[in-house]
Every structure is written in structure tokens, then in C-alpha cells.
Symmetry: C2
């Protein structure tokens, strides 16, 4: 039976229902999900709040055991998850394998981190030298119940059991997931694994609930409730911004960690362009098109010198891009939005659109490039906007002056990529500084996609790439989003 | 000559002027300050922005040298600062000495910290084991120009050269100070010391500007400018909240670190009450009245058991409180607001008001207590509100049930103090947990005032005590407010 998963029980009281969609076969799936009712929402909140005392006071070791139990149950559910995943996302089995492994590895990474490296003690200041001064111990404390939003483009790694949920549980925060309506069955099956693991643990079932809704009411009621203390979200700018505003409208505002994507500009410098042309165009044609470019770090904007080598680079990139396979997009609405955004952007500018020709299957995304130049970019800010899908804009530049002018216009980015020789990087320090001010991660001579999940990753950039550039959504440091310092002074 | 201090120059272009006030002699001071004009504001912003490249790329060692130079100049200006300080704040010479030393120590603390402990490197992940994975280096980076608001109650330690300015400079962020209008001359003289020090350093004058205004226009224009990347503020809830909202209304919202005060509840348990009565009442009568209670950590709310020992505690506290000297308040408006808030709060509740009797001099604050009980507190939320001045509310409670009910109602606090035996603390873990969820610092058997400036301090609590409970306004960790992580991936 499917339904809202509330502290270990399954509940489907509501009258409003929805189904997910099978993008590969272009038809709705036939499993029905009941939208959570106000009563169900309140129950999930109450259970999360009640379970916080025990969970917050647990040791990192206890939580490490829990994460390993979840990993075990998740792994056992693999065949069942695979079926739902492909049916609901249109993503391939190969992609499933990569994402499943990533999700599993992420669980183990946090379990190991809690056991070996994470410390709740931040620092201690004794008063030996000055007896009159008090003794202080500063520790990290879990913030309280966290609301996590499943993401459309990562049904596993950024959804029910994605980085937000795992880092919140690792911190000692109960989690309420609002499942993404594009993959409710996948979310439900993953939710079952979490619930089974909690049953095997010493923790109360209230530390995990998952609610379903294909509209915004459930999310709104949750985010405005005083028991929710932080929010994790990966998705669109409009979605993230509205959550940010709702959270700040509360009598007691709370932190929202919204990763809202970006156009991930790539800056191509002339010196290595001839030598590296083959390597770079191969890497980037795949980086733009793989899984229909549905990644928040997909490179969407290229600044290329208007030289012979620059033109050859663009020509090669185009040729290879067109030859890459076309992938099915996640949902009819994403496919439609992809086509609409391209049209909108191109309608406002002069340039050349090159797209894969011929008939595509169902919801496959038609990869393409739009080639224009600096004056167009400076006149038309829409060219900077993220187009979610297998598409990028090429801006030819004639001088560093032009490149600087374009970069000055850029808003916050998750990543900025520099394709250049060491001499060029050294010669253009002030330009690199412009990028540093605008991005969370600088990539030298590589692709921004394939975000490595590890301690030194930073996934987040100045607004609007993310709502809080000081915290990462990927890697062990993401646990810091869900803790705050507390100091104990004196003796009792 | 007095005026706006913009990147080392002095400017007084505006027509709108104001003077400060001498609270001790209850008359205006006769030095005139020109409110910064739009042109002056723009110039300060431009200079801050232009100086950021060099400042951000400087080493912690370079900035340590700068802070020591500032400390030297600040110390040289001491006699001049003293004159203005007392004339503008009504605070005593004794208090000046304490605050001056604290400000100087804070500078040296950050200078030492930058030299010895602070590292811009957060972590590094190599790719030895998996050659296909990229090498990552995660570093802290200064966020950009920071807007600092001088505080009324700390003309030195939280104003022009207070914790916000020093931690922002330590991080590598240019600073624009909006001086507090209650002590512009003090601010100006301190500003001169900073400017002299920068002239002796290798840094550009644009890293420091200070603008004057007795209204809100200058602050509003600054905070809405895209070049400002973070805000430090200590003051009232209304002031902090409005800055928070302005910053979030920007196309690119920025972090606001507003420390907005709290009522700092004290929870008195029965067991040690008889034995500790003398010691505690002595400590707390001073903690409430010292410098007219004008501290954000002044204990403003006491929960006392309704027993014989509880009543003796309150009686003793009252007796000692009344005998303490009365201090001149910072400004006529603060004095008036103190009296008005007391009246408002008391007008809504049944209870007993005990105040020092007799005639006071000028703007001296009349210390007092308002004694009431749990049912009144639960009915009247206004009793929780901070009254800035030498005043506290006593709530008698009859049971842990009542104490829990009151605590559930409390909003975020900078501090919560527990006066109890070790056995009581251990026996009431769930109650202590309620406090942990609501406070940034728990004090056991001591007073919340006298915030120790060191690495393990945390000064900040859940909203509305501060706007971001994850960061401290005091101690070396306050530097983290003005940095964000950035990752460098791959080789160039």
C-alpha cells in the first residue's frame, strides 16, 4: 500500500490524489498517491518534534549505526527501487547504477565521518590563568526538525535519502521529506527502507516522515510551522526563492538552504585552445548533453575568443554535441519548459541556433547551442539565465575588456570553469578574482559536472546560485547546515 | 574638523546636521555632524569595492600587522577618546577603562589569532587513490565590503572599532561604519586612529570609511547597494529586524548578523537557594543594575520557586538592588523608552512593582523589580519582552509543570542561566533541553553579563535574540561571519 509515511505508519486520508508519469513511454503511471491532509501534516510535525529530544542527545556513534542500517536496507531494496526509478524518471539503468552507488557511498561516508572525524565539541576555553573568568565549552547542537524537498533530477542522491536527509540525520535532526511529485513511488520505496532501518535502531520512528503532494500547499504548511527549524531544497530559482521568502516571513525566520542552479560559465582562453581542442570539446559535448543536461552544474555559457582557434573549438564542439545521444527528459513539463526557455532566450537575441536535427523519440531533449557575441550578451541579460536541459550559449569575445565586462554582469554561480594555460591564469589574476567573487567552485581545465562527494567539495555559490553561499549541499561539511553552536558556561 | 570619513579623507558636503547629547549634564553637545550625502555614500562604496581586490588577496599575517597598527593608534588616542566617550555616553571613567581595555584586547586577540591560528585553508582532498577524481582545495574567502552599525551601549567595543569591524577587517573585508548618532565624536576620533593606522600600512584607504546620520536614510542606501556583502548590527529588535528585511528584499540577499538582545531568563531551583542566597543576590543585583542594566545580556526575567527560600531570595535581591548606585542612562530617548516599557508591561499584569525611591539625578535609571507569578506570565506575553535598563521581572512558580509551561513560551534568547545543584541539573535534563533549544549560551550558577571575549564564546541565539544563531558576534569565531568557502578544482 502506498501513502504518506508518518513516523513509521502509512496514512492516506486525503481525497486529493495524483500519479507520476513515465517519460520514456510518454504516459502516466497508474499508482495513485494521496496528498497529505492537514491532520497528517500535523502528526508528522508532532512526531518529529517529540523525537528530537532523544535524537539530539544521541551520540555521533549511535547515528553512525543508524546510517549504516539505512544503507543496508536501501541496498536490499535496490531491485524494487530500480523499477520505480526508471519508470518515473526516464533515466537509464546505467544512470541509476551511478546514482544508486553515489547515494549508498554518501550514506557510508557520513557513517564513517560520524564515527571517525565528526566532533560535537568545537572548542573549550579554560580559566586556569584568570580564575575570575568562567570556563566555556562550545559544542555543535542539532537545530531541530528539518524539512527536505526531493529534487526532480536526482530521484535518489538529492531526494528522500539524498544529501539533505543524510546530513540532517547525521546532525541529529529529525527529517520530514516532501517527496518530489515526479517520482513518488521511488521516494516511497526508499522511505520504506529508512523506516525499516529506524525500526531496527534504538531511535523513535518520528525522526523520519515523508509526505506527498503535487502542489504547494503541503510545503507551505510545513515551512510556516514553528517546529521546522531548517529547510533543504534543490530545484529552480522560483521554487527556492519562494521558500526563502516564506521562511523569512515567519515570526521566527529559519535558514533555507536552497540550491537553485546556475548557468556555470566556462571561460576559454586562447593559449591552449589549439592543443586542447579535441580533449575539451569531447569533455564538454558530453558534459552538456549527458542525461539531457539536467544537472545544476551543467555548463550553460561559454566565452570563447573570436579567433580562428576559437571558431574551430566551437565548430568541433557543435559537431560532437550533435553526435551525442539524445536523452529522455524527466517530465513533460521539464521538456516543455526547456523548449520554451530556449525560444524565449533566442527570440531576444541575434545569433545562430544549431540543434540536432531529425525526429526524436517521445520526451527526448534536442541538444543545441546558441552562438552569439559580447555586445548581444551585454544587451540581453536573459542570455545568462539557466536553461535546464542539453543546451548552452556561446559568447564570442574579442578582448579581455569584453570578457571583463561580461563577467561583471554575471550573478552568483555554483561553478565557473577556466580553460587556460598556467601562464594565462597567472597573467589574469584580477579577472580570476571577478570569478571568485561570483562562484562557489572554480574548475581549472575540467568540467563542472560530476560533483565529487567528499569533505573538500563546496556545492553552493553566491545568490541566486544558492540562498546561502556559506554552506555546501554536498560533502561532509553539509552537516554544518543543520547545527548551531551552543556554549556551556560555568559549573553545575 | 569633523565629517564623514571616506577612504582617508574627511568630507562634509551635506546640509542636514545633528549633534550628540551629554546625558550626565542633560544638554546637547555642541559639535555638529553633517549627515552623509548620496554622493558621499557612493564614494565610500566605490572605494570599499575598489580596495577589496588587494585586501582579499592579502595574507592573514598582513592583516595581523594592520590590526596591531590600529591597536597602537587607538591606544595613542586614548585621552582624546576618553573625553568624548564620557561626554556622549554618560558612562563613567571606570566603565571607559574596562571598555577601552576590552576593545584593545580584542584587537590584539584577532592580531594574534591571524598570526598563529587562523588558516584560510579549510581542507584538501587529493586524488591519489582514484586518479579519475579531481583534486580539490577548499579555502575561506572574504565576502566583500561589510556594513557595520555602531551600537548605542558600547561606544567602543561594539562600535567603530568593535567586534564587527575588527572581525571583518581580520577576514579581509573592507568596512563601512554607520556611526551611532549617540556618540559621533567618539566614533570620529576612533575612526581617525583607524585611518592613521591604514596610512602606515600597505593597504588602500578604501578599506575603511565611516558615515554619519541620525536618521535611517544613509543606512538604507548602504544596505540596498549591491557592493555591500554582509551586515553587522547590535541593537534593538525593531532595528535589527528592519535591516534583516531590507537585506532580504535585495535582488541578491545578503547575510545580516543582527544581535537584537533578549530578556536572558534566570531559572532558580530550590536546592541550593538557602545556602547560595547571599552570593547569588549580590551577583545578580549588580548584574541587573551595573551601568544602568544597558547590556544585551542583562538578566531580565527570573523564575523563582514560590517557597520560603524563594521569597527570601527575592527579598534579599530587592534589598540589594535598591542599595546599588543608580547610573545615568545613555540618552534621553533610552531613558524615556525604559520608563515607557516598564509602564506598558506592568499596566498589563497584576503584580508588585518595587523601585528605588527618592529623587535621582538627570537621566539616571531608576532600578526596580516587578514581581508576579506563572499564571500572569502565561497570560501576558509582554512580560517576556526585554526592558533595556536596570529592571527585571520575577515570576514565582509552584511546580516544574509551571516552569516547563513558561519555558515553552520563551522565544530565542542570547543566554539562559540555571541556578541549581548538580543533582537538580541532572534530574531535569528534559527541562535543560528546552533551554538549549532556546538559547545560545547556558550559564550554570553565574551571571550572563560580562561576556568573555575568547575563542569559545558564543554570543547569538535563536531568533529573535539574533538573526543568525549559527554565528557569534563575540570571540575569534566571529570572523566566520564574513567569509565563505570557495573550492579550487583541478590544475592550471
Amino acid at each position: 500500500m502506498f501513502g504518506n509515511q508518518i513516523a513509521g505508519t502509512i496514512s492516506f486520508e486525503g481525497d486529493r490524489k495524483f500519479s507520476s508519469f513515465d517519460p520514456t513511454n510518454n504516459r502516466p503511471n497508474n499508482i495513485v498517491f494521496h496528498v497529505a491532509t492537514g491532520k497528517e501534516i500535523q502528526l508528522a510535525l508532532k512526531q518529529a518534534d517529540n523525537s528530537f529530544y532523544q535524537f539530539c542527545n544521541s551520540t555521533p556513534k549511535d547515528r553512525s549505526i543508524l546510517l549504516n542500517l539505512i544503507a543496508e536496507q536501501f541496498n536490499e531494496g535496490k531491485p524494487e527501487i530500480l523499477g520505480a526509478y526508471c519508470k518515473e524518471s526516464g533515466l537509464s539503468i546505467a544512470r541509476f547504477e551511478v546514482e544508486f552507488k553515489r547515494t549508498l557511498d554518501q550514506l557510508h561516508m557520513f557513517a564513517d565521518y560520524l564515527l571517525q572525524s565528526y566532533s560535537e565539541l568545537i572548542s573549550e576555553t579554560h580559566s586556569e590563568q584568570e580564575k575570575s573568568l568562567p570556563h566555556l565549552i562550545k559544542k555543535r547542537m542539532a537545530m531541530g526538525p528539518v524539512l527536505v524537498f526531493g529534487a526532480s533530477n536526482f530521484p535518489l542522491a538529492y531526494s528522500t535519502l539524498g544529501g539533505d536527509t543524510v546530513s540532517a540525520l547525521a546532525a541529529g535532526c529529525p527529517v520530514i521529506v516532501k517527496a518530489h511529485p515526479f517520482h513518488p513511488e521511488t521516494s516511497f520505496i526508499v522511505g520504506k527502507a529508512i523506516i525499516s532501518a529506524i525500526k531496527k535502531s534504538t531511535f523513535q520512528p518520528g525522526i523520519f516522515s515523508q509526505l506527498f503532494d503535487d502542489q504547494f500547499e503541503v510545503a507551505q504548511e510545513l515551512i510556516l510551522d514553528n517546529r521546522i527549524k531548517a529547510v533543504g531544497f534543490t530545484g529552480s530559482y522560483l521554487g527556492g526563492k519562494s521558500l526563502f521568502e516564506l521562511a523569512n516571513s515567519r515570526p521566527q525566520p529559519i535558514p533555507v538552504f536552497a540550491e537553485m542552479g546556475s548557468s556555470n560559465p566556462v571561460f576559454v582562453f586562447p593559449e591552449s585552445l589549439e592543443e586542447k581542442c579535441e580533449e575539451w570539446t569531447t569533455l564538454f559535448s558530453k558534459s552538456i548533453t549527458n542525461d539531457a543536461g539536467q544537472f545544476c552544474t551543467k555548463p550553460g555559457l561559454f566565452f570563447v575568443p573570436q579567433t580562428e582557434n576559437g571558431k574551430s573549438f566551437v565548430l568541433k564542439l557543435t559537431e560532437k554535441l550533435i553526435k551525442e545521444p539524445s536523452f529522455t527528459m524527466l517530465h513533460p513539463s521539464i521538456h516543455a519548459s526547456f523548449e520554451a526557455k530556449k525560444k524565449e532566450l533566442i527570440g531576444l537575441s541575434t545569433g545562430e541556433l544549431i540543434e540536432k536535427s531529425g525526429k526524436l523519440e517521445g520526451l527526448q531533449g534536442r541538444q543545441g547551442l546558441f552562438i552569439t557575441n559580447t555586445p548581444e550578451f551585454l544587451q540581453n541579460k536573459a542570455l545568462e539565465k539557466e536553461v535546464f536541459g542539453p543546451f548552452a550559449v556561446i559568447i564570442y569575445y574579442e578582448s579581455m575588456l569584453e570578457l571583463n565586462a561580461c563577467t561583471q554582469e554575471l550573478l552568483g554561480q555554483l561553478t565557473a570553469t577556466i580553460l587556460a594555460s598556467e601562464e594565462e591564469v597567472n597573467a589574469h589574476e584580477p579577472f580570476i578574482f571577478l570569478l571568485k567573487q561570483r562562484a562557489g567552485r572554480l574548475i581549472f581545465n575540467g568540467v563542472p559536472t560530476g560533483v565529487r562527494v567528499c569533505q573538500s567539495m563546496h556545492h553552493g555559490g553566491p545568490f541566486p546560485a544558492s540562498s546561502d553561499s556559506r554552506f555546501t549541499a554536498v560533502g561532509t561539511d553539509s552537516i554544518l547546515r543543520f547545527t548551531r553552536p551552543i556554549v556551556y558556561q560555568g559549573n553545575c
